[in-house]
Amino acid sequence: MSPASLAEQTLDRRRIVVCVGCGGVGKTTVAAAVAVEAARRGRNVVVLTIDPARRLADALGVGALGNVPRSIPRETLDSLGVPANGQLAAMMLDMKRTFDDMVERFAESEEARDRILENPIYRHATDALAGSVEFSAMEKVYELCERGEFDLVVVDTPPAQHALDFLDAPQRMVEFLDSRLVHMLIHPAMTAGRFGFKIFQRGTRRVLHLLERISGLGFLQDISEFLMAFEHMSVGFRARAVKVRELLLGRDAAFILVAGPARESVRQSEEFLDRLDASGVPLAAVLVNRIRRWPGGGDPPGWNDGSGIATDVEALRDAFAQQEAADFPARAAAQAAADAAKGYAELVRRDRENTAGLERRTRDRGRHWGTIPELPADVHDLDGLAGVADWIFRPEPSTDDDSRTGGRTIDGSPARPVESTRRRRA
C-alpha cells in the first residue's frame, strides 16, 4: 500500500489549499503552481493571490484590479496540458473592495451602509485595522467556496510574523466588536452623563477615562460613531468568523508551508511548523522553495584542491585550446570552470545543511517534504508555473535508502513530462 501522493491528498480531495509562510519565500508562485497542477488534474480551480509580481499577475490575467476571478483562456490551458474538464481562474485580492462588499452585505439598511462607507475612521481603519488583509483574504476564500463555482480554491496568504495571523483574524475582529470597552464606546447614552460608567466595572471605567484624557473627547466620539454603525453588522460578522474557522480547520482544507533555504527562513519555518501543528491546522506539506540543486540531483561530490583537480584543469585547458581560437585564455577558462563547480557545490551543501533539521521534523510528523530548485530567472509565465508544479508534484525519485519516502513518489503517474519542462528553462 503506497500512501496517497501529495496531489491526491490535497488537490483531489480538498476544496481549499492554503499556502502559508514568512515573507519573501515565493508563496504566491507556489500557490499559482499548485493551481496549475489542479487544473491539469481536471479540476475547476481558482487561485487567490495577495500581491503577485507584476509579470506573474499579467501572466495570470489579474494585472487589472477587479476583485473577481478571471479565467485563463482555453488555448493557454491547452498548451499547459489541462484536460477539457480542467479550468483555471485567478484573482488578486482587493482588500478595500472586499471590505466594502461585506459592508454592503451585512448592513441592515442603505442608510447604515452609507454611514459606514463615509465614516472617516472606516476609511483609515480598513488599511490599518489589525489583520485586515488577513481578514479580507479569509472572507474572500469563504465567499469563493460558498459560491460553489469552483471545485478548489488555492489561496496565497500575506507574509505573517505569526503563522496563524490569518486564521485568527476573523476571531480577533469579533472579539474586538464584542469587547466591553467597545460597547462602552458605542453606548455612552446607556451610562449616566458623558461617560457615567454607572453599570460598568471600575477597571473599564478607568481605561476610558484615561483614553479620554489622552486623546480628547472628539476622537472617542468619532470612534464611537464608527463602532455603532459596525455593531449592527456584528451578528453577520460573528457568524462568518465561526464558519471561516470551521472551514479552514476542517477536512475540506489542506495547508502547505512554504520555506526558503536561508538559515533565518528555516528557523522561522520551524516555528511556523510547530505552531501550525499545535493548533490543529491540517498541514499537508512543507516545501522549500528556491533551494540550490546539484545538476542531476543528489549530493554534490566532495573534493579538495589536490593534484586530481590540477590534472583535470589541464585536461579542460587542452580541450578548450583545441576548440577555441588561438588567443582564447584556455587556462583561465579551465580554472574558472573548476572554481564555479566548487563554489556552486558549496552553495548546494549549505542549503542542504540548513534545511536538514526542518526536513527531519517534517518527515517525523508524517508530512510531505518537497523542494523546488532555484531557477535561473524569476518565474513569470504559466509555463514557468507548470515547471514549478512538476517539481512539487513529480519530484525526482528519492535517493534515500529507507522507506520514509512514501509521499515523494507518485505511483502509477504517467511518464514524467518533467524533463522536457525542466530542460526548456536552460
Binding site: V133, Q161, G203, D222, P295, I309, L316, E324, P329, A377
Partner: protein
C-alpha cells in the same frame, strides 16, 4: 537633488531602515550600527520584531535585550520597543500614577481592545523613538549620536510611518495631538531623519522598493537619499569569459575528468552563477531607474549572514559613497 552627493548616514539623528521581508533589513541595520561605532558614534539600534534578530547577528548566544536594552558591542546599544511597555511608560508619564496605569494595562477588556485597535502600536513605537532622540547626557549632549530603527517590513499598507500623519488629522486636539505633531516633525526633518530602503536585485523587492520610494517622497514627506541593494552577486568569471557555460557546452564528450564532475555539470554550475549575476545586474539597473536614487551595493556573502564577522564585512561597503550608475 541630482548632482549633490548625499550626506553621510552617520550625520543624521535617525535612520529608519526598511524593506521587503527577506531582503536583509536587520543585517543592514546591524552593519550600520557597527560602522557608526567604528566612527566613534554612540548608537542605539531599536528593533520592533518580537523575536530580536539583532542579538543573533551582533551577539549570538546571548539573552534577548528586551525593552530595557543592552550594550551588545562597545558603543552599540540595542533595545526592543514593545508597544505595551512603551504605552505603559507613556501613560505613567502622562498620568503620573503608576499603580493606576498598571491596573489598566492588566485589564482584560483593555488588552483586548488594544490588540485589535489600529495604529497605536506604530504610534507609540515612534513616540518612544522620539523620546529616545530627546534623551540627554548629564552634560546636555544627546544620549545617542545616532538612532537606527529596524522598521517593520514594507508591503501591504506601509502603515508604520503613515500613522502619525493620520493621527494628527483624526485627533484634533489634546495631548495626543500635540505629541504626535512632535513625532511627525522629527520624521519629516530632512536634517535629522532619513529613510534607508533595503532591497535585493530581484523583481519583487525591486518593485516594492520603487513603490515605497514613491510614497516616501510624496505623501509621507520623509527624506530618502539612497537605496541599499543587498546580496549582489559578484562577477563569477574573469572578463572575456562571461559565456563560459556555452563554451563548456560545446566541449566534446570525450573530455575525461578524474575528480571534477563531467563537463555538462560544469556547464550547469557556470550557467547558474552567470544567470544569478545577470539577473542581479539587470535589477540593479532597474532599481536605479525606477527610484531615481543613487545606490549602495552590498556583496552577497557566500557563507550567509551568520554572525558578527559577516556583519562587520558589510559595514565598510555600506558606508561607501552611493553611485548613480551600475559599473
Amino acid at each position: 537633488m541630482a548632482g549633490d552627493a548625499p550626506r553621510s548616514l552617520l550625520d543624521r539623528r535617525l535612520v529608519i531602515v526598511t524593506g521587503k521581508g527577506g531582503t536583509g533589513k536587520t543585517t543592514v541595520a546591524a552593519a550600520l550600527a557597527v560602522a557608526a561605532a567604528r566612527a566613534g558614534r554612540r548608537v542605539l539600534v531599536a528593533e520592533m520584531a518580537a523575536d530580536e534578530q539583532i542579538v543573533r547577528l551582533l551577539a549570538p548566544g546571548t539573552p534577548p535585550v528586551g525593552y530595557a536594552g543592552r550594550e551588545l558591542l562597545p558603543g552599540v546599544l540595542a533595545q526592543r520597543i514593545d508597544p505595551f511597555e512603551a504605552l505603559t511608560e507613556y501613560l505613567v508619564l502622562q498620568i503620573g500614577i503608576r499603580p493606576l496605569v498598571e491596573t489598566v494595562m492588566r485589564n482584560q477588556g483593555f488588552r483586548q481592545l488594544m490588540s485589535a485597535s489600529p495604529g497605536w502600536r506604530e504610534l507609540i513605537t515612534l513616540g518612544k523613538v522620539w523620546h529616545l532622540e530627546q534623551m540627554q547626557r548629564s552634560d546636555g549632549a544627546p544620549r545617542f549620536d545616532l538612532l537606527i530603527i529596524d522598521a517593520p517590513a514594507t508591503g501591504h499598507g506601509m502603515t508604520f510611518l503613515d500613522v502619525p500623519r493620520v493621527v494628527v488629522s483624526a485627533v484634533r486636539a489634546g495631548p495626543l495631538h500635540h505629541h504626535t505633531e512632535r513625532v511627525e516633525a522629527l520624521l519629516s526633518d530632512p536634517d535629522k531623519t532619513v529613510l534607508l530602503p533595503v532591497t535585493t536585485a530581484e523583481e519583487l523587492p525591486a518593485r516594492e522598493t520603487a513603490e515605497l520610494v514613491e510614497r516616501v517622497r510624496g505623501e509621507l514627506g520623509i527624506a530618502v537619499d539612497r537605496v541599499v541593494i543587498n546580496a549582489v552577486a559578484a562577477a563569477p568569471f574573469p572578463a572575456g569569459l562571461e559565456d563560459l557555460d556555452e563554451r563548456l557546452d560545446r566541449l566534446p564528450d570525450s573530455v575525461r575528468l578524474e575528480t571534477l564532475p563531467p563537463t555538462t555539470v560544469l556547464a550547469d554550475c557556470s550557467r547558474y552563477l552567470r544567470a544569478r549575476y545577470e539577473l542581479n545586474r539587470r535589477f540593479v539597473g532597474e532599481i536605479a531607474e525606477m527610484t531615481r536614487l543613487p545606490f549602495v551595493l552590498l556583496p552577497r556573502i557566500p557563507t550567509g549572514i551568520d554572525g558578527p564577522s559577516a556583519i562587520e564585512a558589510l559595514a565598510e561597503p555600506l558606508m561607501a559613497a552611493p553611485r548613480a550608475e551600475a559599473a
